[in-house]
């Protein structure tokens, strides 16, 4: 009985963890045109920030898939002293 309860608790806990990861993706996809417009503006500003910061040292990678972007930008935030705002906008530019 005790074992079953613990197993159930672990399954629920795992489910909550996975759900918390999945939720932001759902909410962002529900935003309509105003959000899309805002995203486009952010991506444009992100391109400017990319040129001003990252472009100082190197070319952008030719191929960079969306699932690599977070690690790349987080890595460069630490290494190249990007501000938090720069990081977010460059993320929007590289993975709109």
């Amino acid at each position: 009985m005790k074992t079953r309860a613990l197993t159930l608790a672990m399954v629920v806990l795992s489910g909550c963890c996975l759900a918390s990861v999945a939720v932001p993706q759902n909410t962002s996809s529900q935003k309509p045109t105003a959000g899309a417009r805002s995203t486009a503006q952010q991506a444009k500003e992100g391109e400017r920030r990319f040129q001003a910061n990252c472009g100082r040292c190197h070319n952008p990678p030719e191929l960079i898939s969306p699932r690599e972007v977070k690690a790349v930008v987080q890595h460069m935030r630490v290494r190249a002293m990007l501000s938090a705002e720069d990081e977010q906008l460059i993320l929007k530019y590289l993975a709109p």
Binding site: K2, T3, L6, T7, M10, V11, S14, C17, L18, V21, A22, Q25, R49, A52, N53, G55, R56, C57, H58, N59, P60, P61, E62, L63, I64, S65, P66, R67, E68, K70, A71, V72, Q74, H75, R77, V78, R79, A80, M81, L82, S83, A84, E85, D86, A95
Partner: protein
């Protein structure tokens, strides 16, 4: 026993499914550089195959593990200019650190990290980023004993405005003599101010070396990439009891946009001048023991698929002997996910 099995099963289920969901955001990456370099220095020719892998593993929004290694070969004639070629390989860890991104102003790093003195070591020493094959002569000032430090560092952007950003870093390193993981006992820091609209950054560094007889090193740097011209100017000045000097490098890319890979837009010309004035040599600083001047002129050609060809000529003037230095190489930069998963 049954509880253990169930717990193990649940955890396995979690770890198997999490990467798929996290795949779009927290995928670790493996990037880096593969190079083959050739050098003829004062008549002696040697070759260096180099692999520099970089691993970055984000752990949520606040933690990041990052590491860079270097496997470098050195193939040369046994007697300098005569005899058969023989070689050896050396493997080193440049950095292996855990970063905690506390907030928008503070990041704390622990482990082994690149010593943040001036900017060449941290920003331009990566093979893909440096414009010329050789590091500047005064690179060893502020970065002894190995260019890396073992300890803790705090860094970040103290002030971020539209017109300017102030960045800082401060660190402490413990002395380590473990092979390939060496570091000196030192403390120091750096402050810089960056003007994004002007493409200008200036900053200053200080280091107190706390072993082998304490000593101070200080530095100043200037980086300028004017937005309207594809010019890249980098310069550093550094001073220590071993000596002092400066280097000034200018690179011109024949395209305003670095992504422009058409025709002559792939070409970059580079020139660098250096002056070094020797002082009292310190143990382990690997700096010249005589005043040295050097001028380099190079051409870089960026091919598609992140491949670069480079060639340069340098002339070094020193009371220990003048030398011509020819360098050439090919560099490939790679980047891919460190584990398989779906693409968005």
């Amino acid at each position: 026993m049954s509880l253990c099995k169930n717990a193990l099963g649940t955890l396995l289920l979690f770890f198997c499914t999490a990467p798929a969901l996290l795949g779009q955001s927290d995928t670790p990456i493996l990037s880096g550089t593969v190079q083959f370099l050739g050098t003829t220095n004062a008549g002696s020719t040697f070759y260096q195959p180099v692999i520099v892998p970089v691993l970055a593993v984000p752990l949520g929004d606040h933690f990041l593990v990052e590491a860079r290694g270097e496997i470098q070969g050195f193939i040369a004639r046994e007697n300098g200019t005569t005899g058969p070629y023989s070689g050896q390989f050396i493997a080193t860890f440049d950095y292996a650190q855990l970063d905690y991104i506390a907030n928008s102003h503070v990041t704390i790093s622990v482990g082994r990290f690149l010593t943040p003195f001036d900017v060449y070591n941290e920003r331009y020493n990566a093979p893909w980023i440096r414009n010329l094959q050789d590091a500047p002569i005064l690179f060893a000032i502020g970065t002894r004993t190995s260019g890396s430090s073992n300890g803790a560092m705090v860094r970040g952007v103290a002030v971020a405005r539209k017109k300017f950003e102030v960045n800082y870093t401060a660190y402490f390193s413990a002395a380590t003599t473990v092979e390939n993981l060496g570091a000196g006992r030192a403390a120091g820091g750096r402050v810089g101010i960056f003007f994004p609209d002007k493409g200008l950054e200036i900053g200053t560094s200080y280091q107190r070396f706390l072993q082998s007889g304490d000593s101070n090193a200080s530095g100043f740097y200037l980086l300028w990439q004017p937005p309207s011209v594809p010019l890249d100017i980098r310069s550093e000045f550094a001073h220590s009891p071993s000596g002092h000097g400066y280097w000034l490098e200018s690179a011109y890319r024949f395209a305003r946009d670095r992504r422009n890979m058409s025709g002559i837009g792939r070409l970059q010309v580079v020139a660098r001048m250096q002056q070094y004035f020797s002082g009292t040599p310190l143990a382990g600083d690997s700096l010249p023991t005589a005043d040295t001047n050097r001028f380099d002129f190079g051409l870089n050609y960026y091919l598609q698929h992140d491949v670069r060809l480079n060639g340069s000529y340098g002339r070094q003037f020193s009371s220990l002997g003048n030398a011509n230095i020819w360098e050439y190489g090919i560099t490939y930069r790679f980047l891919f996910p460190a584990w398989p998963g779906r693409s968005r």
